[in-house]
Symmetry: C2
Subunit: 144 residues, 2 copies
Amino acid sequence: MTAPFAALDPRLAADSVAVTDLALCQVRLMNDATYPWLLLIPRREGAVEIIDLPAAERMQLMDEIALVSGALRDMTRCDKLNVAALGNMVPQLHVHVIARFAGDPAWPGPVWGKAPAQPYAEASRDGLVSALAARLSPARPPAG
Amino acid sequence: MTAPFAALDPRLAADSVAVTDLALCQVRLMNDATYPWLLLIPRREGAVEIIDLPAAERMQLMDEIALVSGALRDMTRCDKLNVAALGNMVPQLHVHVIARFAGDPAWPGPVWGKAPAQPYAEASRDGLVSALAARLSPARPPAG
């Protein structure tokens, strides 16, 4: 079943690139090389708070948070994960999953509003997106 | 079933007061009158990340986040909820559920590390704890 499409907020679209679509959420990589930083955005029109989702979709969201958290931790060997739904600036429901390292520019504070975003070089961004997509996508039968 | 006890981190204990115990988490009120601010602390020894919990407990955590979020929004009529598991300073797994208002001292940024905590007057803190506990606790048969 495909979730109903929700138009992506233009600020989220400008700050991040698509990685893959899970059952409920689009996964996006923030275009900021300072931190390995993913967003999960439920494709649900009008959802602002986690409690705007019906219970079954909250469970699905938790499953997808766990999937993305595990992948990000395995890939980065980070010291800590930060998982947060804030939305004070962009109301469209989105969950941050961020790999943190002792000594990163915002450590031990939160990342928001600290260092200006450092966009990835295009090749390294594309490589990271591909690696993440492969790690997060269900195995597909080979084409042909 | 009572969850195994996990000793509460002394910094969490010092900064907050107990509200009630849910099936998985202890709910605590941060002693900071600047924001209506609750913590959910799973009673699981050694849990640091959400993904340290087994899947069934992650689902229970999401249920308890939803319960606490709904109660806090209903009681405060806040503009936005902030839900976050950070843990960069205190590793013991704890989820913040914070009622935010446009124009509060940290708005629209995150609350952590902004204004110093303004402890509640004791009577208003106790009143808030009682109201929250009544709202969050399952109905019990009258005693006697």
